[in-house]
Structure formats: C-alpha cells, structure tokens
Amino acid sequence: MSVIDIRNLTKKYEVEGNTVVALDNINLSIEKGDVYGIIGMSGAGKSTLVRSINYLEKPTEGSILIDGVNLSELSARKLRKMRSGIGMIFQGFNLLEQKNVIGNVCFPLELIGVSKKEASKRARELLKLVKLEDKERAYPSQLSGGQKQRVAIARALATNPRILLCDEATSALDPQTTASILKLLKEINESLGITIVVITHQMSVVEKICGKVAIIDGGKLVESGVVEDIFASPKSDAAKELISGNDIRYTPVKQMAAQDTIRIVFRDNSAYEPVLANAILKLGHPINILKANTQNIGGKAVGEMILGLPSDERVSKEITEYFREAGLTVTEGIINE
C-alpha cells in the first residue's frame, strides 16, 4: 500500500467568473521511504498539488489517500490529527517570529497537548539532529536563511511524522545552503525512514536527493518515474526543458536548429570512454558539440550532450547508429521549435 495515493485529483478555482484548472486529473502513488520529487515551472500547479496532500487545498474532484485513509471521509477533528502526522516546510520558512527557536520546535507538540517538559526534551533532540543545539534561545530574526529552514525542519519533525512535505524549501537559499539542507533531508529520510515529497522548480534539487520524480506542466502530470530514467530519456517537452534548463518551447535557436541535432546520454561506464572522439576518428565526419553536461545522479556519472550532425542524412544516421552500438541513449535533439 502506498503511503500517499493521489487519485484523479482535479482542482479548479473560480477567478472573477472564469474557471481556472490548477490541477487536471493527477494520479500518483508515493511509496514508503521514497524521496519523491514533484517538479514543474512556476504556475504549473505543483504547490497546489502538495497542499492537496495535507488537504490545505480541498480537491474539486478526486481523492487523496494517506496510508489508505481517504482524507475526504475524515471529520475536521480527524483531519487535523492526520495533519499533525504530516510535517511540512516552506519556501518562506514560516516560523513564529515572536517565539524563539525552541518555542517554535515545541509549538506543534503544544498544539496536541504534550507537556512543556516533554516537548522541550523532544525539541532539544531535534535541534541536535539539525545541528542547532546552541541556538535554542535565539529568535528567527537572528538566524540566517539556512538556519531558519533547519528550525523549520526540526519543527516539522517534532510530532514524529511519517511524511515530510517540502514546498520549494530550498528556493530562497543560496546553492551552498541548499546543498546542506538537501543533505540533511536525505539523512532524515535514511535514518528515520520518513517519506519525503519535494516540490521544486530546480532539476538540480531532484537530481541530488530524489529517487523518483513527477513532472507537472500546465496542471497535468506529464511524466513520472525513476529520476535516472527520466533524465536519460525525457519524453515530454516540460521534462526536456527542465533538464536542459532552457526554455525550448519559446526560445528556439535558429542557427542550431538548421542542423540535425541529437541528444546523447552517457550512463554507467560509458561516461569514462572517449565515445565521441572514437566516433569522429572512426567515421571521419565532423560532429559539433552544442552543449555538454555531466552530473552525478545517485552516485553514477550521467552525462548529456547535444550534438549537431552533418546535414547529410546518410552520415547522420551512421553516426547515430554508432552511438547506439556504443551503449548510449540517443534521442532527438531538444533544440528545435
């Protein structure tokens, strides 16, 4: 049974008489212990999706099941109880500005009636986990962005949740701080076995910590699966766009589009072999490198290249075949209109 089961989720808003479809028939299952990325451009509907998981947004149609329990069937009181078992962190941290660090971490426990002494004890454990044990008396205004997010993580974990929802949790942070927060989330996932849902618009975040990913575009789920597979052979435009970091649909590069372009992906050991150099030496045709990138995904070297091939169809076919034989994934180049 999935920890989170999203079935036929549709969310519509009425804005000045017009109906806006924020989410369109989303189906998604998230298993226990997953670090699941939900990625999309801003306005794609991903925040609405994550807010639906704990029913901060009520779906217009469809249902959300947490451990098999349909949230729409819960009373207000039971829903609140369910929510206290789902931690959530935000882009803006959302700490209580008038409470100090330990007060913030104790807050969710205070809400469910845990005694002050017990709450403080639990809060200190968590502050140790997020490495902020020396800041318990500080107020949020005295902390850096990264420290604030660590406090928010400790607060989200206070009630021992099974699920942690991260709504653009690193989007307001610099790259270094982002890396340390992601590392912390990964550690939490591994040591506590908490299922983590990560909402982001950055592919780099997904690559660093997620095992699986779903791509949301225009309120629709366009693609989902294992991160490595999606990165190697993205099918949807949105996925290609997010991986390349370019807005392929709106900024076509005419010069490049004039050539035949292909995208090759290196996986496993092929990243260490000089495949491209071999191809040029063996086939004797020029190959133009338009873009190249190598990343470490789940401990494996995965690289991608966008290549411009000679316009002769026979030659380009020959080259493509060569790459396929060398064990690379070859897809159509993404620099097109």
């Binding site: 704990n54 901060l56 207000a76 009181r77 609140r80 109880k81 369910m82 929510r83 206290s84 789902i86 959530m88 935000f90 803006g92 941290f93 959302n94 700490l95 209580l96 500005e97 008038q98 409470k99 100090n100 807050f107 969710p108 205070e110 809400l111 469910i112 500080a138 107020y139 949020p140 205004s141 005295q142 928010a152 607060r155 009630t159 929802l165």
Partner: protein, 222 residues
C-alpha cells in the same frame, strides 16, 4: 493656589484615569472579540463569511461615523438606563465604550491582518484548529501592533473623556470647562491642559516601551 484647588485637581486626575482606563478595558472586552470576528470572517480569514462580516463591518462604520459629542448626547437615555444617571464619570464610560469598541475592532482587525499568512498556513499544516490559531498564533504574532493600537486607543479616549466634561462628565475636562470657560480662571484651565498632556505622554511612553520590549523581530545580535 489653595489646598481646595489642589484637592480638586487630584480628584480630576483620578476621575480622568478612571474614565479612560475603565472605558478602554471594557472597550477591549467588546472590541477585541469583534476585531477577531472581523478578521476570521473576512475575505482572507480562517472562516470567510460574507454575511457576518458585512453586518459587523456596517455597525462599526455607522458608530464610527457619528461625532463623539453627538454620540454622547444621543446615548443619554441609554446611559441613564444602564448607570442610573447621565452625568458623572461612571456615566461617561458608557458612551466612551460605545464609541471605542468599533474603533478597537478595526485596530485589532488591522493588527491581525499584518500577521504573515504563511505562518497561519504552517499552523494549519501542523493540525491547529481555528481557536488555537487565533490564541496561539495570531494574538502572539500580532502582539506588538495590538499593544500599539491599545496605546493609541487609550490616548484617544483620554481626549474624549475630557470632551465629555462639557456635558458634566467629570474629570480634568470638566474642571477645565467649569473654571476656564464659565469662570474665566485661565490659570486653572492651563494647569488641567498641562496635566492632560503629561498623562498622555506617560501613557504613550509606557505603551511604546511595552510594545518594543515584547517585539522579538528586530532584536540584533545574539
């Protein structure tokens, strides 16, 4: 200045403080829940309810648009019904409360509106109910603006209590009108004015001190 005048002025200070603090406290007992109700039922509130909001909003606007001196006179029968007489400092508290409660409701609503919606959302995500959000999040996070609002309201009520002196309300305003206006004793009038200024300054100073002292947002360093 003879002993009698000093005694009278001390009595006036006591009456003024009694009216001001009495009306601000009772005003808050009525205005604070009203302000919370306005916030909760408002457009971006916890439980938006257009009907309740419109009704409370309308009543608040009506009362606030009546000049205090007119309200004072209009309410004489009502005051007599509640206190038993229409003059004196206790009787003055009635119109002061009626006048301040809607004003307080607005001040409270504005203070609560300043609270970051993200924090409220975080509390909801933690499973807080509406009561907990109001008591443990809104009133705590907005406390600085609430106290500033309280100080401003107290200052206004101090002025209004003096104004009620014109209709026999008691306190320093009453003394100023009786001696300064009817008897041409300018010195006594000046003394009452100075006393009112001093009282106002003290209220403002205490209010600002408490508000900044309780604010954890701007504190620098560790």
């Amino acid at each position: 200045m003879n002993e009698q005048v000093i005694k009278m002025l001390l009595e006036g200070i006591k009456d003024t403080l009694y009216m001001t603090l009495g009306s601000v406290i009772i005003g808050y007992i009525i205005g604070l829940p009203l302000g919370i109700l306005l916030y909760v039922t408002g457009k971006a509130g916890l439980n938006p309810n257009r009907f309740i909001y419109r009704v409370v909003d309308f009543i608040c606007n009506i009362i606030r648009s009546i000049p205090f001196l007119i309200l004072l006179i209009l309410l004489i029968p009502f005051t007599r019904m509640i206190v038993g007489k229409s003059y004196g400092s206790t009787a003055t508290i009635v119109p002061l409360v009626i006048c301040s409660a809607p004003y307080i409701a607005r001040v409270v609503e504005a203070a609560l509106n300043e609270v970051d919606t993200g924090v409220i959302e975080a509390a909801k995500a933690m499973g807080a109910n509406s009561f907990q959000i109001v008591v443990k999040v809104l009133l705590v996070e907005a406390r600085t603006s609430l106290i500033s609002g309280f100080t401003i309201t107290t200052g206004i009520l101090l002025g209004y209590s003096a104004m009620s002196g014109t209709v026999g309300g008691g306190g320093l305003g009453d003394i100023a009108v009786r001696y300064g206006y009817y008897r041409w004793q300018t010195d006594i009038m000046i003394i009452t004015v100075v006393l009112l200024i001093v009282i106002f300054q003290i209220i403002q100073m205490i209010g600002t001190r408490i508000a900044t002292g309780l604010d954890r947002r701007k504190r620098k360093g560790n």
